[in-house]
């Protein structure tokens, strides 16, 4: 049974259809990428997976749970890193981790987590004083502190410099190596190509292609995932 199974998901805001019949599955242990331009329906889909929004149609199963009905149980088993989510500026890194650890029935060892994410030297720093890359690492640490089975990482490397991006990619590979399934939302093709086992390409609220990055390149007869993405999403317009 897949870890995530989405069938014919629909969601609209007023007259605007944000998600228009999306289906895909994610297997346990995968790094699965959701790719698309801004407004393609990625974030809405992920918010439905988390139970933050209720779908207008279709079915969702995450870890065998219905996100809308079993929201609390789901939150115990899914770690989330949200796009552009901040912490209070005057909260120290270790305090943030300790606070979030107290939310979960079984939390990770905070010292180990600080080491893994190279935050040991910043444990006493205020969140507001951290660099973009450091904030992002804290955000990933918070997503992992509850020892989740699934980590949802949204726009993980947006705003990071090339070094920080590569370090973050290594982290994600480390997370998967530890047995966590990763759902990665991104609009960076190089990131998807480097990290993802399989991707779903979103365009205008639909999934226009699913497969490994190599399969997608091949089917679009393109040399890079970037080219494949452009030709796949353009054909729908």
């Amino acid at each position: 049974m897949p870890l995530i199974e989405v069938t014919d998901l629909r969601k609209q805001y007023g007259n605007r259809v944000a998600v228009d019949g999306v289906s895909f599955t994610v297997e346990r242990g995968e790094i699965f990428g959701i790719l698309g331009t801004n407004g393609a329906g990625k974030t809405t889909t992920v918010e439905c997976l988390q139970g933050l929004r209720h779908a207008d149609g279709g079915t969702i199963s995450v870890l065998g749970l219905d996100p809308a009905a079993d929201h609390t149980e789901l939150t115990r088993r899914v770690g989330v890193q949200l796009q552009e989510s901040q912490l209070p500026a005057k909260l120290r890194v270790r305090e943030a981790l300790e606070l979030f650890a107290s939310f979960y029935p079984q939390s990770a060892d905070i010292d180990v987590l600080l080491d893994q994410l190279d935050l040991r030297d910043h444990a006493r720093s205020y969140f507001g004083k951290l660099s973009g890359g450091q904030k992002q690492r804290v955000s990933i640490a918070l997503a992992l502190v509850g020892q989740p089975e699934l980590a949802i990482l949204d726009e993980l490397t947006t705003g990071l410099d090339p070094h920080a991006r590569r370090e973050t990619w290594q982290l994600v590979e480390g997370v998967r190596a530890a047995g966590v399934t990763v759902l990665l939302v991104t609009h960076f093709m190089d990131e998807a190509e480097r990290l993802c086992d399989r991707v779903a390409i979103f365009d205008a609220g639909r999934v226009v292609a699913t497969g490994t990055p190599a399969e997608l390149r091949e089917s679009a007869n393109a040399s890079t995932l970037d080219d494949a993405f452009v030709s796949l999403t353009r054909s729908v317009r």
């Binding site: 989330v80 901040q86 606070l99």
Partner: protein, 244 residues
């Protein structure tokens, strides 16, 4: 430690690390009391104040200042900032309901408000011989209603403000009238009687506070009005509340 206690302790630390509100909430009413007390004539009985001393009339208004700042400005700004920064949304993805954060903020602000009021009363009593409340129990009940009703007005602002900046602007819609009717800008005995009467019924209840204080007996309708503000305000805030 329970999760809620942990959240409250963490929020209290954050609150005290930007100590302006904490210091202002606790000390400002007392500092103003000392400043007013230093003005000649304020501590002598005056005909314009109906035979009372001006300083006696000012004390309830100083309670209003402290409550209005904490309830109508500080809480909305804090909650709106959390909404703006995505903290509430982030919390919604954990097993802990974001409402815990709001209640923690309320607890902290109420504690600061009560500390400020206690200091004010102590100082007014020891320095200016303003007598302590004659009906301590009724005073406590009235104060509780006053605190809850004022905070419920603040929660309405906190519910709808999308950013900390807009919270500051929106807060003025409640802050200025509450300060005005509470006799902060002009002592209540000097307000036109119509405005005085309105002031009798709005949070935080300067008139019933004063009545229980001097022991003239409180008007039940005024307490009922405060309770109505508290219930309707909280209900409206809950209805308007947005996590993002």
């Amino acid at each position: 430690m329970s999760t809620f206690t942990k959240i409250t302790a963490t929020e209290a630390k954050i609150f005290l690390r930007s100590p302006f509100m904490a210091v202002a909430g606790v000390l400002l009413p007392s500092i103003l009391l000392l400043a007013i007390g230093a003005i000649p004539g304020m501590t002598k009985p005056s005909d314009a104040a109906g035979g009372y001393r001006f300083i006696d009339a000012w004390v309830p208004s100083l309670v209003v200042i402290s409550l209005a700042m904490l309830a109508l400005q500080s809480i909305p700004a804090a909650v709106a900032a959390y909404r703006e920064q995505g903290v509430l949304r982030r919390l919604a993805t954990t097993p802990v309901h974001p409402a815990n954060l709001l209640v923690a903020q309320l607890v902290i602000h109420v504690v600061v408000a009560l500390a400020g009021i206690a200091l004010l009363l102590g100082l007014a009593n020891t320095v200016y011989d303003v007598p302590l409340p004659k009906h301590p129990l009724m005073f406590a009940v009235t104060l509780l209603l006053g605190v809850v009703s004022t905070f419920s007005l603040g929660l309405i602002t906190a519910s709808i403000a999308g950013t900390a900046k807009s919270a500051n602007g929106l807060a003025m819609l409640t802050f200025v009238p509450i300060m005005f009717f509470g006799g902060v800008y002009l002592p209540r005995p000097l307000l036109p009687s119509v405005l005085q009467r309105i002031g009798d019924y709005v949070p935080p209840g300067s008139q019933p506070l004063q009545d229980t204080w001097v022991g003239t007996g409180v008007q039940p309708l005024q307490l009922a009005a405060l309770a109505a503000f508290a219930v309707l305000g909280t209900a409206l805030a809950a209805r308007l509340f947005r996590w993002e």
